[in-house]
Amino acid sequence: MFKRILIANRGEIACRVMKTCREMGIESISIYTEGEEDLPHATMGDININLGSGPLAQTYLNIENLISIAKKYNAEAVHPGYGFLSENADFAKALTEAKIKLIGPPAEAMVIMGDKISSKEKIEKLKVPSIPGYHGNNQEADFLKQQASEIGYPVLVKASAGGGGKGMRIVQQASEFDEALASAKREAMNAFGNDKVLIEKFIVNPRHIEVQVLSDQKGNHLHLFERECSIQRRYQKIVEETPSPAFSEKTRQDICNAAVEIAKGVDYEGAGTVEFIYDEDGRFYFLEMNTRLQVEHPITEMVTGVDLVRAQIMVAAGLELPFAQKDITQRGHALEVRYYAENPDNNFLPSTGKISYVGEPRLNNVRLDTGYRDGNQISIDFDPMLAKLITWGQNRAEAIEKMKHSFDDIPFLGPVNNIEYLKRILDHKEFIAGNTFTHFVSTHEESLKEKESALEEKALALAAHLLADNTQSQMTSTTTNNTLWSELKGFKN
């Protein structure tokens, strides 16, 4: 087993990985930048290295420097966390050359899965369905219309160069196709200077489903069931849960087996996530594979009892996974919400400021993963995620209820944040009913708007202010008295 690991990341994920290192008796090297000295990750390692200041390319993304740190301090392996260099094949190759083990997949698997086209080709060979569509060069209107019929309506006409919904049309039936194509092409030409379009099956009520896989170097490929992460804003997940409220046992088996086939097919190693789109008719389509630990991995840990970071480290050290597929079961229900420093009532704009009070879980089976402590400053230099709050219950309703109570236990007082918005989602009748689709946030925009506070809540807030004030002023006067007394005493003596 490794004696020392470099954590090539920051914040909550660096802290998360270091916890497991400590449990395994492995020393960790933590890195931080100028101005981050007060953050928990900056002092949590057995060795803590200041990377200095400057843009990310010179600090957390500086491959050369990270490798020289690993060498200088005799790190045998590097844990990349998520984001940053976690899916960077150059980093993986540079580590291999330096004879330092990357806790992650081999560079080859990263390359295949990192590219949308090569990953789709690989998936087709493995007979796992991806979203039907035409992505070719033939742009004749009649040909494209014929493709649309073969794919089956409704279809999506989308600018190849596109983004942000420009040059995109949903076509419900063949009679609407010609007009939609023409207008999509016009819009694409205006927006991108290129009117090439692609045609894809339009998924009506899509859910984002992903499957956690785990592979060792001995050819064992396992899954740790699914996660549903349909509730997103700005294409980023904010609520995740497992099991998915939409699945039958049969679907679960099918989708999990497909994920294992993919892991086998690319000779995967370590922890990975296969993402799918799941439609309302129960069909699933491959989306992409993330060759790293996911932000939302804790919910899988809660229902399976497996420490995914420990498994990653064991596998990287060449050990065989200590459990077989039949040993892994889904117990109860886990829910994760992501706290962000942002204002949901103003386009989710990021906010900054000082965190006066973080808080801590007070109920059973509640987990808080955060990279902040009281007094820390939120800066605009990094991702505005404040924390992940995870709850476990015997069933979905219990996990939700526990989460709602935990919001007040972990209030992150200070900067504007999305906690109340998360509560509005959890209180929403469609969420409670399990009708969670990827367009949830926009579909329910109106009913998710801020509600006027109850007068009693305002009264309690005011009372808290007055009573805190009260004791403070009393404390001040007591201090003054004490000083007076000691002075008098001194005078007497």
């Binding site: 704009l349 109340e420 009264a459």
Partner: protein, 163 residues
């Protein structure tokens, strides 16, 4: 006597305020409240209202209740009673960087004139004059980083019909 408190930036009238060490009575928006302090530590207190207890985290003026964050402050009376209609300020919509100050201090500008441009979230945002006004002062220089909701420039509105 009536006092004014700002609860989440909204002014509320509070009357019949009476407080001692462990209890507070007041009238908020016409309704009478009696709230008891039953326990307290550095960051939290337990408040009793109509026989029910609530544990409330409180620090630096902030607290969270029913998931919602509240910030309470006493509204201070402004000296001289400046007419707020005449003086305006323009705040940063979000944290970012000041790219360009488009006019000079002392300039008289028409409504809609761009006063400054800032960059945030990799997008440019222009702050425009909300009315015909005189630009009094820029509070930041070009290139400076600013937080969200911070006053960037102060202006004085031009009176509509000069006497």
């Amino acid at each position: 006597m009536e006092k004014k408190y700002k609860i989440n930036q909204e002014t509320h009238l509070v009357s019949h305020l009476k407080k001692d060490r462990n209890a507070v009575n007041f009238n908020l928006e016409g309704k009478a409240f009696e709230i008891f302090l039953t326990a307290k530590d550095e960051t939290s207190m337990t408040l009793g209202i109509e026989g029910k207890n609530y544990r409330v985290h409180y620090k630096d003026g902030y607290c969270r209740l029913g998931g919602k964050q509240y910030f309470v402050e006493k509204e201070l009376l402004k000296r001289g009673g400046a007419q707020s209609d005449d003086v305006g300020s323009l705040k940063s919509p979000m944290p970012g960087k000041i790219l360009k100050l488009s006019v000079s201090e002392g300039d008289v500008v028409a409504k809609g004139t761009t006063l400054l441009v800032m960059e945030a979230m990799k997008m440019e945002h222009s702050l425009k004059a909300p009315c015909d006004c005189t630009v009094d002062q820029f509070l930041f220089k070009e290139g400076e980083l600013v937080e969200g909701d911070i006053e960037l420039v102060s202006i004085t509105a031009q009176s509509e019909s000069p006497s």
